[in-house]
């Protein structure tokens, strides 16, 4: 899988250099990390804030996640995914751990009654940037159930089991909807890998 083929990857595929930065960070390069920080912090913090809702806690979680990126940079495997998805997977996991340990399930279930409003907020926040518009447009292409499933799972940190409960849908249905939704989004956004 990781044959030592010369890497001549066109820089246009991804915002140039995240991969390289991460490689330098893995060797302990603090200057490279500072540059990396500026590139990824708004997404890491924005994601933490979206999932956790509380700025003080989101700052803590963003800090933990960013330090994790430093600490584990050597474990990043380009064969498994892009640098940014690796970073955001760490950040999302951290944020989800926080909300899931934070509240008893019952508490969160009650809170989720306002989920549709929350989704509108997300759409509202998507401003003029092209990528944001694109994400917004593609989210708009999903079915109601697909969109809700993605919203509750990714932006609120619910497990698919909880999502099924919240939406009153069967487990296999929710699982399938999540997969269908991501596949549809992938195609709409033109995401490819490998």
């Amino acid at each position: 899988m990781t044959s030592p083929r010369p890497r001549v990857r066109p820089d246009a595929a991804e915002p140039p250099g995240l991969d390289d930065l991460l490689r330098r960070v893995a060797r302990g390069d603090e200057d490279a990390f500072a540059v990396l920080y500026d590139r990824i912090a708004p997404r890491v913090y924005g994601l933490a804030l979206r999932v956790i809702r509380d700025p003080a806690q989101a700052e803590e979680v963003a800090q933990e996640a960013l330090v994790d990126v430093w600490r584990t940079a050597g474990r990043y495997d380009p064969a498994r995914g892009s640098a940014i998805s690796w970073v955001l997977t760490i950040a999302h996991r951290r944020a989800v751990d926080r909300v899931r340990s934070e509240q008893a399930t019952a508490d969160r279930t009650r809170r989720a009654a306002v989920t549709e409003v929350a989704f509108d907020e997300v759409v509202e926040e998507a401003t003029a940037r092209f990528e944001q518009q694109q994400v917004r447009r593609c989210l708009g292409n999903l079915t109601e159930l697909q969109r809700e499933a993605v919203d509750l799972a990714y932006y609120h940190g619910y497990s698919y089991r909880e999502v099924a409960e919240l939406l009153g849908a069967a487990l296999p249905t929710v699982k399938t909807r999540m997969r269908d939704a991501l596949i549809r989004l992938r195609d709409c956004l033109g995401v490819s890998f490998g």
């Binding site: 899988m1 990781t2 030592p4 603090e30 990390f33 500072a34 500026d38 912090a41 708004p42 997404r43 890491v44 913090y45 924005g46 994601l47 804030l49 979206r50 700052e59 963003a62 800090q63 330090v67 600490r71 940079a73 050597g74 474990r75 495997d77 064969a79 498994r80 995914g81 940014i84 998805s85 955001l88 999302h92 996991r93 989800v96 340990s101 008893a104 399930t105 997300v122 998507a126 990528e131 694109q134 994400v135 917004r136 799972a153 990714y154 497990s159 698919y160 089991r161 999502v163 699982k175 399938t176 999540m178 997969r179 269908d180 989004l185 992938r186 956004l189 995401v191 890998f193 490998g194």
Partner: protein, 241 residues
């Protein structure tokens, strides 16, 4: 399409629990097409962040840069491109970590005779294999519940076909001084002892055999040696049928 395969979306959205994550990671090992799908779906999920970016307070930068100056990195030199560890093997390690948890639970009894240790090790290895088999069973059903007082989590993976379940405990509150968490299956008012976590132990993984005809899986806090029947209303109870 097998049940495990369809979890790729939930996996990419991080909407699975730790056991399912391990089980799915195991599946990835045998499914190269899934590795690609998961990479793409994870990248797609990452794009959802485009809609929610937010500028963190300026002091966070200083604080993070300060902290990394004091934080040791792990594993930066392990990569050897020529004979890199196949990525898939790392997934196997995750499964082994679950198995190791069993060993942790089973150990702790002080020094044992060498022969006994070998037997134990063999039994534990066998049990670890059993656990993996349950986690990856085609009919594996996963349930989870918060621990007592909402602290921590109890996750139960049940395979009716195998007549076994794996119970994983994480971050529970202390069972109390000289007390242990004890596991039960229940049918009507009949409770069957399914083992203990160990005195003061608040996390671990246990294989539970004989679940098919039972109605509930329950966890109680009992005196150190365990009880012959639950002495409290189970603070954790999951349906088995």
């Amino acid at each position: 399409m097998s049940d495990i395969h369809t979890v790729s979306g939930a996996y990419a959205l991080d909407a699975v629990d730790d056991i399912e994550r391990v089980a799915f990671a195991r599946h990835l090992e045998e499914c190269p097409a899934c590795v690609r799908e998961v990479a793409e779906l994870t990248a797609t999920a990452a794009r959802l962040v485009d809609a929610v970016t937010a500028v963190p307070p300026a002091w966070l930068r200083e604080r993070v840069l300060d902290e990394i100056g004091r934080t040791r990195q792990i594993g930066p030199l392990i990569r050897r491109p020529a004979h890199a560890v196949p990525a898939t093997r790392r997934w196997r390690r995750a499964a082994v970590a679950v198995a190791a948890a069993v060993v942790l639970v089973a150990a702790g009894g002080g020094a044992l005779a060498q022969e006994q240790r070998v037997r134990d090790a063999q039994r534990q290895a066998a049990q670890a294999a059993e656990i993996e088999a349950v986690l990856t069973a085609p009919d594996a059903m996963v349930q989870a519940a918060p621990g007592p007082d909402g602290l921590g989590r109890v996750t139960l993976v049940t395979s009716r076909a195998r007549d076994e379940a794996v119970a994983a405990f994480g971050g529970l509150e202390s069972p109390g001084v000289d007390r242990t968490y004890q596991l039960w299956t229940q049918r009507g008012d009949q409770s069957t002892d399914k083992g203990k976590l160990g005195t003061g132990v608040t996390s671990g993984t246990v294989l539970v055999a004989g679940v098919r005809t039972e109605q509930k899986f329950a966890v109680t806090r009992e005196p150190a040696g365990g009880s012959t029947a639950p002495t409290e209303v189970p603070p954790v109870s999951l349906k088995l049928d």
